[in-house]
Amino acid sequence: MVPARISDFNYSDPRSAFILSSRFAPPCLCIVLMKFWKRWKTRILLSLAVVGPGFITANVDNDAGGIWTYSSAGAQFGHLLLWTMIPITLALIVVQEMTARMGAVTGKGLSDLIREEFGFRITFFMMIGILITNFGNVVAEFAGIAGSLELFGLSKYYTVPICAVIVWLIVVKGQYKSVEKVFLAASFFYITYIVAGVLAKPAWGTAMLATVKPPPASAWREQGYVYMVIGLVGTTIAPWMQFYLQSSIVEKGVTPRQYRASQIDVITGCIFTDVVAWFIIVACAATLYTHGYRNVQDAKDAAQALRPLAGDYAYILFSMGLFNASLFAASILPLSTAYTVCEGLGFESGVGQKFGEAPVFYWLYTILIVTGAGVILIPNLPLVKITILSQVVNGVVLPFVLIFMLLLINKKELMGQYVNSRLFNVIAWATTVVMIGLTIAWFLTLRAQG
């Protein structure tokens, strides 16, 4: 079937076009790509230019932690966790919208506001909590880098240090803004999950039903179910996202008047994130769960989910997607953490400053990367387990961040007419209470087991 000569080329079959171009690549493929680029360049660049902080944050949300957690959820429980996607999306939209609104109205970052309204001591402990949580996420990103490149047979002992240096240099040399666009374009790899989900011929009916129907009570008694629910919430509504999004909104100079546009940006981002998450779960349920690979242990297992789409090449797609997502988030997270902590505690911060002018900022940033990457170098580390644990920690810390956000956003002297509506308060408080409840339930099961 594969055309070996150009004369065999079947013009009506798009697949053979692809095969042809890859066979006669690079010159052929290059020309095709160049033409495509020339024709679409302005449009692509234009659409990237209007992509706002909300969409970027949402994209980074599908980082290594996200991919692993969604994959494991689908592999381990099949459709049993799909019902969480709608409430999580709702909560995500509400929380991100609150964050963006606070940024636009006050013009200040979240840690600045916590400091100004709640004093030094509370801020200090909050920042320690954020530092620990985010450190877990940084570790998860480097785990993603290690896992994705191991699929190509590259040892983590040199890929991780090299990527750590790249990440460090990107930011310190002030190149982040130009690299961001590359990451963003590459994050369209996520669409592969949607395609894979479709090609896996999942049981659409049951998947849809499982999305809107609460799970049977027996599910809750299954080992690790509560743990995974916390992980799913924690990876989707991560604490660091709130700090990052609010700073991005402030930095972009969004004012309450232009706020409508940001609202749309935030909501689209949230929906996009969760649609991808849904498809990852469905794809993994249709492949891994169905074939009994219940326990995702490394990237090789997770890559099987993309088999229906890419066959033996599934691992390439998977590893490119995971690698891009991990590197993208790895260049944002340590930086965002250093900003958050320094702003809250009143240290000089900013990549515009020299090392000597903002020592705490740069040291914090450097240490996060060095230790985050360093942890991964420990031999025989269970990468996926550690990653999911970091997302569960996200979920446990989330209610504390939400409480501060809710107290702040309901202050009239701070937000004026932009205080929360009752509906938003109800949803956000409910999220907080549910997360605290789940955490307590998880601790209880831990004790029961111990």
Binding site: F120, T255, L345, G346
Partner: protein, 413 residues
Amino acid sequence: MSTLALTELLGQPVVDSAGRTCGRVREVALTPQEDRVLVSVLIVKTRAGDRLLPLQSVSAINGKVMASTASSDWKATNGSEGLFLLERDLLDQQVIDVHGRKVVRVNDVDLNKDSVGSRQVLKVGSVDVGARGAVRRLLKGVVPTGALQFLLNQIPPRVIPWEFVDLIETDPARRVKLKISHERLAKLHPADIADIVEELAPSEREAVFETLDEQVAAGALEEVDPKVQKSILESLDSDRAAEIVEEMQPDAAADLLADLTQEKTESILEEMAPAEREEVSGLLEFKEDSAAGRMTTEYIALPVGATTHDAIEALRKFEGGVETVSTFFLTDSRGTLAGMVPLAKLVLADAKTPLLSLTQEPLISCHADASDSEVAELFDKYNLLTLPVTDDANKLTGVITSDDVINVLRSKL
């Protein structure tokens, strides 16, 4: 004289003249209308509500605040009108360190304690922005007082004397009542003011630009990042914006107005004085990235027959910026560019020397439509400080200065 940290004073028990503990210190306040340094009143939280305890009635502060009046004499607080509250308005907030030229966050406030007769006097000495204040607030009440004091003595203090602190208040009415102005900030170089302003939240920027003297505000605004410039002008009333834009270099003003919405630009132009309006709106017609869009119309042009003496006189009367006066331009009766004389040559020449004998050869100029890169090339090739811009009829219409070129080049880096 000894120092007392604000956070040590807050929460201290207050004992009235009858020896009863009546409440705790909730706030420490200044009355800026009367004195910007002296603590005027303590707000005491009692069971009956918040009470004002004037500092004149405080006889001692040593772990407790001893009042010389009966608690029944303390007036109830009715709002904080006219009071600057150190805890609410200063602690944990951002202030401008005028000496260090940056924005800092307040960790604690050092109060200087003095006794005058049987009365206590408290003055704001400095704000603590370093680790000492941070550690004190973190460990206060957790670590025994003696151990904490020992620890704090080991940490070198990082403080800003009160006279170098510039406060930011976004509420205009409170700004007037509390006499908050930016006299100290205004003394800094415009570029430093610009850097500071960029670090503030939008409402705080607006507050600073509403209070600064127009000339200072204009100088600072020119140096601010274009994106921030735009948001500042959009946030100001059109008449205030017009006052500031009038004082800006016409080319910078035109560049800035070109970025605003047409509506806003028009309403600002409307409020401007006619002469400045004409100049700026003339420049607005040009494309921003052409020579005409970069040039200024403020320069010294003299008739071909002028002497050095005439040039010096013209310089004395010149009101524009100093960038353009490094060169004098000679024009004939029709306004055609006839020559240019560098300031240095002119200074060394005799008063009666005709300018025509001092001109610089060759005469380099560019057309109004010249692109940014053509302009930059000319500056580079001939090592220029200024470049005259001419129209189709070779008439002198404006001047580009080297700082404009540096701006363009930097934005392309």
